[in-house]
Symmetry: C2
Subunit: 890 residues, 2 copies
């Protein structure tokens, strides 16, 4: 028989910390604290399965739920010696949501549930504190009406303010019991006025109202948005925690507070928190009264005059300090706790792993490992690999005032301020003149590469996390906010419109590529400080990981950055990026405009020495490490200008008539360039391009080897193959060229020819392809586009709806879609190894820098991942985490 309700507190406890899927985080930890003997007010959790049932059955409950809740209340009554709905000896309850993942603010808490006109009087009589009783009732009505009945809480606040005005007092605490009794009358009238029904007086009805409100809140807009932003599936559901009330507001021997077992900002090993005497928990949060420090040390540091808890309540502080130690030892992590002191007695209301800054996480992990609290492996697992990005880029000064006016996708981390410019050339010009610029564009294309480089930050209206702007920005370490769909960029007027707001070219804005936020004006930024903990942890990670980490890089700067960040080779050098420089694009276009092989060869001969120099430089920088060079990949029309004017210039430069240039351009235009004449299809139709690139690679290798370098480890990569035959044809061109250059130079080369596996067909016939390819590099960007049938440039139109509808809860361009794309990677790896057991397997899509994807690549057993230079530290840590997880799961 299914069980829907789990008791906790005072010995008899049915759950523990391992049951967070069923009980939610809060419920599981309340049970766990009970299990280890900490003082937890008794209560029970209604499991997340009830939530699932509720939504699967048109918001109704399982049959036996009511019976189980009744039994659980009886258990709480027994443990507390109180009785629910009994005016003589009333049990009051709190009702809180609690899902598997923390979702702050999803639903407000309901406290003091169980009060009505009879019970409030009984409570006054029993405690001898009329003010306390009526204040509790007042608070309850306000919370319940707000949270459960949907009454605007402003109405209650107005009534309270008016009451204080009438009575001529300033502070809530100066209201008497009688004042509050009168106020309760007004509150009840407000509820009846607003809801056309009296405030529910039956505690049982109150309880079910609150339970229903918690479940309903799971699907409110706030929760949906929060889940979307945090990749939490809607299917998890929330639990409901019902707990007996303890009161921090029954007098001056009462208090309530929150604390962290270590400093969550810096990670320093010190007890850190705040408390309020004679208050309920909500008062701490509400900020009506200023909370006091927990420890004397903290008070001295912050210069507060009011005594700390350590000084004011030394005994119960001592108990709390011991609890801190118990909890850290037990949970082996920094805890974020809530407590209440009722008449000198400590009650624990919550514990959970505390949120922390990236910097703090790093320091705590390293220090806890050094203290022996956790192992090195645990320390490695403790730090969110993605968060390292924060430590490598400038961040907004958290104390700065700022006006957000737009939110887009957090496409490349870091914060940057600068003047808005709308054109690529202007960006470069202004940057050269010493200005910081933010390039704002509908979208960017490879033509803009110099502008992306010149800009401090990039803002685009279209395109997702793997759009051109995003990929290039991450590669260059530039801050980037993409897909800010509400932006209209008016090039003619040189203005950017967002709703009614307008930013003119030259105005200063600030973007935060880590959050996707855009601010008016310059917001001060702070430079990252890499602590010693960073070096320690990444060192441990390097020892723990199995996969190699390479970088995607083609410029000398990128390659140097990659090496500095610890890359163990280049996993993807996109040779086409080398063709966009001003002097090269002319030869490239001449090649495109040529009407025959001879014409193309003539133009290619001009490109050859430039490519050779590029490769030589890469080989020098990456000396001793493998360098994967991908043959020309994009369709040729990407190298042509868009405007008729520019095309005329091209025609002139290429020595053809404007009509011929136009016709050639039209002929090259494609309906779906992503699926067009690109990749190795270029090498098949224009073998001379492949031959030129191969020659540039080998001539460069000869030059550098003659300089005395170690043998160059070139891995030449054929893009977009779907058949073994394509690789075979390209391989022959490459091998023939290698032989020719060896004969010409007398140098012997070590190199491999391999292929991208980026089409579904390629994975399916990987056994055949491995006959020709010595290595595979999975191109999971394109494979995501083809397997899912989603163009990453166009996905913005629906991917958000898809996330909200739980179709792709996580953007498949950010984290690999394991069931689809992942399955193809696994098939490709397995079939490739069947033919060539030692085939080298890597991945060079954007997923190479994503920790969740890296986990998967570890499972599949790839040899390396390759990512943007700035993601290399993230990948090093993530690969270590993946290896540790894989080890422990076997």
């Amino acid at each position: 028989m299914e069980k829907w309700v789990y008791n906790f507190g005072s010995g008899e406890t049915e759950g523990d910390a391992t049951m967070r899927e069923l009980l939610g985080g809060k419920g599981a930890n309340l049970a766990e604290m009970s299990q280890i003997g900490l003082p937890v007010p008794p209560g029970f959790s209604i499991s997340t399965e009830v939530c699932t049932y509720y939504y699967d059955h048109e918001r109704s409950y399982p049959e036996r739920l009511a019976t189980e809740v009744d039994a659980a209340i009886t258990a709480v009554e027994t443990k507390t010696g109180l009785k629910f709905a009994d005016p003589e000896n009333p049990l009051l309850l709190s009702v809180r949501s609690g899902s598997r993942a923390s979702m702050p603010g999803m639903m407000d808490t309901v406290l003091n549930l169980g009060l009505n006109m009879d019970v409030v009087k009984g409570l006054a009589a029993k405690t001898g504190d009329k003010r306390f009783a009526w204040d509790s009732y007042r608070r309850f009505i306000q919370m319940y009406s707000d949270v459960v009945l949907g009454v605007d809480h402003g109405l209650f606040e107005d009534a309270l303010e008016q009451k204080k005005d009438t009575r001529g007092i300033y502070d809530d605490v100066d209201l008497t019991g009688d004042d509050l009794e009168a106020l309760v009358g007004e509150y009840l009238a407000i509820v009846e006025e607003e809801t056309d029904a009296p405030f529910p007086s039956s505690p049982r009805e109150q309880l079910w109202g609150a339970i229903g409100a918690v479940f309903d809140s799971w699907m409110n807009q706030r929760a949906i948005t929060y889940r979307r932003l945090n990749n939490i599936p809607a299917s998890w559901g929330t639990a409901v925690n019902v707990q007996s009330m303890v009161f921090g507001n029954m007098g001056d021997d009462c208090a309530t507070g929150v604390a962290f077992t270590r400093n969550p900002s810096t990670g320093e090993n010190m007890f850190y928190g705040e408390f309020l005497v004679n208050a309920q928990g909500e008062d701490v949060v509400a900020g009506i009264r200023t909370p006091r420090n927990l420890t004397r040390e903290e008070r001295m540091a912050s210069g507060n005059e009011e005594l700390s808890m350590e000084e004011e309540m030394p005994e119960v502080f001592q108990q709390l300090a011991e609890t801190r130690t118990i909890l850290e030892k037990h949970y082996r992590d920094m805890q974020d706790i809530e407590f209440t002191i009722q008449q000198g007695r400590l009650y624990m209301l919550q514990t959970r792993n505390g949120k922390r800054t990236a910097e703090a996480a790093l320091r705590m992990a390293v220090e806890m490992a050094e203290e022996g609290l956790i192992t090195r492996d645990e320390a490695i697992l403790r730090v969110d690999a993605s968060s390292l990005d924060q430590l490598l880029h400038p961040a907004l000064d958290p104390s700065a005032e700022k006006t957000m006016f737009l939110r887009g996708l957090p496409a490349s981390p870091g914060a940057a301020s600068g003047k808005v410019v709308l054109t690529a050339d202007k960006a470069e010009e202004m940057a050269l003149a010493g200005h910081n610029v933010i390039l704002a564009r509908v979208e960017t294309s490879p033509e803009d590469i110099h502008a992306l480089h010149a800009a401090s930050g990039i803002l685009t209206a279209r395109g997702g996390m793997t759009s051109h702007a995003a990929v290039v920005a991450r590669g260059m370490g530039r801050a980037c906010v993409c897909g800010a769909g509400d932006v209209r960029i008016d090039d003619d007027a040189a203005q950017v419109h967002i709703g009614n707001q307008t930013v003119a070219a030259g105005d200063i804005i600030t973007i935060d590529g880590g959050t996707g936020e855009v601010f008016l004006g310059a917001v001060p930024t702070i430079q990252p400080q890499l602590s010693g903990a960073f070096g320690t942890l990444i060192g441990w990670a390097d020892e723990a990981r199995r996969m190699n980490i390479r970088a995607n890089a083609e410029t000398p700067l990128d390659a140097k950055t990659a090496r500095d960040f610890g890359a163990e080779g280049i996993g993807l050098s996109r040779t086409e990026h080398m063709f966009f420089d001003t002097d090269r694009i002319i030869a490239m276009r001449e090649m495109i405009m040529a009407s025959d092989t001879a014409g193309r060869e003539k133009a290619l001969a001009k490109l050859l020495p430039m490519q050779r120099d590029d490769f030589a430089e890469l080989f020098r920088i990456m000396a001793g490490l493998p360098v994967t060079i991908r043959l020309l990949d994009p369709p040729l029309h990407e190298f042509l200008p868009h405007s008729a004017e520019d095309l005329a210039d091209v025609a002139e430069a290429a020595g053809v008539s404007v009509r011929v240039a136009k016709e050639r351009s039209l002929k090259l235009a494609e309906n779906n360039p992503m699926l067009g004449h690109r990749g190795c299809r270029l090498a098949i139709t224009y073998p001379e391009i492949c031959a030129m690139q191969a020659r540039a690679i080998f001539e460069a290798a000869a030059v550098v080897q003659k300089e005395g370098a170690d043998a160059i480890m070139a891995e030449i990569m054929v893009p977009l193959a779907a058949t073994a035959r394509e690789v075979e044809i390209c391989r022959k061109i490459i091998d023939d060229t290698a032989k020719a250059v060896e004969a010409e130079t007398g140098v012997t080369f070590t190199y491999m020819v391999g292929t991208m596996i980026e089409l579904p067909r390629a994975s399916l016939v990987a056994d055949q392809i491995a006959e020709e390819a010595e290595f595979f590099s999975f191109g999971t960007n394109d494979m995501t586009q083809t397997s899912l049938g989603i163009s990453r440039d166009d996905a913005g139109q629906f991917l958000r709806d898809y996330a909200e509808a739980d179709i792709y809860p996580v953007d498949p361009f950010v984290s690999i879609d394991i069931e689809g794309v992942g399955a193809l990677v696994a098939i490709g790896a397995e079939r490739g190894r069947k033919t060539r057991p030692n085939i080298k397997l890597g991945i060079c899509g954007e997923h190479g820098g994503d920790p969740a994807s890296i986990d998967f690549f570890e499972e599949v057993g790839l040899d390396y991942v390759s990512c943007s230079p700035f993601r290399v530290p993230v990948a090093r840590l993530a690969a270590a985490q993946a290896a540790i997880k894989a080890k422990s799961s076997t």
Copy 2:
């Protein structure tokens, strides 16, 4: 040890008809005829494996080949009692190519090999016929020089003509032995002049020269082109057949001829052929002398005066007629034979299954089955299913004179003449005015649908076999030639340019969609005659097949055509085609321009009754048969006009400003529409569209069921799903709508909700999708695009190179790519059945009408294929063939 050479003739024969892969068709059949005791001049075949070796080893031969050839020549010498290179008793040889598939004209034959100055004199002495000997040598020099040495044969012909002029004679036969001896001297001088070397006098050198020339001819341009056009892989290679010469030109008791065992044009069961007395085989082909009829009956029918072979050589004719019967009984098929009569003795030089017209193939298959020569299953297999297309469409009159000026892709069969028009509206206007029109466009889009319908034929410059124009034309049974890349269409000048030729709008052209040819002027066409044999065979096929055949249809006309051709339901009704009518497109655009759900719903409400009527009509026509309706599939921008002017009209009609219309249009534009916001993604983001369509379907079903029809079998299809969740969401909308309409109308519906499986991911997670989908329809068009990463609209740029390079020997949009796309279909079918064992599986891509693909779908065990209405008979026959093949392979 490998064996390279196989002997045949006179008893000792090492091959047979089953060995065509190794020996080529000609060699295998020469061996087979020897095996069954027919008189075949002895010889040997050098196997196709030598050809493969030759190209794998830089055009060199296997080591033991020379030894084996020498042994084989010795064997021929023993059998014939002659001796190669021996002037006293010379053995002369013929050398012919012969590949697995017939490749007529790939290489000319070399006859009389083995002659030189010594041998020719010996031959003259031995035969006592100087003229014969020197004529043989003359012919040999000319053939060998042309085929092996590459000397222009015109030079020899000039010398011959000059000789005749000098001698004042008209006919070759009047040249004397001395004339010919002199001519040989001139020929030898020509060769030495042209090649800078004397003509080879060593018979052995001659032989190896001829063998090499045959192998080299495998890769000549003619052969490459022929293979590409006929989908013959280059890897098959050719065999070389070396055979002892027999002479039809040794006197009047000699002859040579060719014959068909039945009439290859009509299929009639009569002996049919022609012969020449005192001639070599080449003379029949060359057409210098007019051949005579084989039978008296034929001669009478054609009114020839010269005696037939039956009359002139009754004895040897009788032997030939018996051979005819033996061969038909043995091969159980119509044979195309070559024979030579040397001094009254019959020799068989070739037999092969005869080529025949589609009409003849049909008649022969049915009659042979009725004669008991073959089984019904064999009769079914005997007819090329694709050829039925020829029988259903007008064809060019083969006797008409015509001027071809262009060749494109044969995109939709049939021939049509008409005036060239360049715009859609003009096409409709002129067609309404009673003209036949050929619509000539760069490419077509859904906006042009009315013009495609109005035109007799369509010619496009871009797009492949599955481009919009091609697909629509096949669906409508219109002739279509696509991707005629050399065409430039100049809309401004209203002219079509091809190279230097210009066709103006209004000029008449003729297109043949079955061959891709385009002709100037009107070429007369002949209407197809469906014989009784067609009905008989298709009836047998229906009994033999397992799969159902459905049609892709959305208009009432298409649906009626489909039923007439025997479709057993509609497998794909593309609802978007219904939105392009003039009155509907306005409402559609209004919907697209709406800024919110309410606005969209208002516009959709206008479309609802129109869709309802469409569906009602389809349901009526297909009464009792299943109708698969696909929800809206194309991206919304396809419904918007391209020009700024038209967009302004749309803005006005939709009641929005031009600026808003422009912005909306820009926002909808996509880089890769194929991978964009389309398919069920529309239903997810705009559920109201899905709801409207579902309502139209069910309201239509209610109307038609109330009219008294059988329960409508609607199968509602969700396009482009990649996840189970998408189907679940659409399914809920559809089910809810069904319930609502049931409640409103009191009618109960039988329907299924299923999905297209057209993305690789969908196949991989088909087990999950089958939880939600009651049927799958594999959309192999889109799955080919995504799996192979090839946009069918853009593939024209490289697919021809890909065919030539043997990467995709067959266009994967015409015949399914079994290893890639096929693997995904198989995975999808298997995983779908795992979840839902009785899931209905079909296919509705263009492959549904392709016999090779249908074979594969039978293997996978699909329940049905769906194709264009005009392909239904093809599919019925192909499905039967597939079922028979499957049965016999188990």
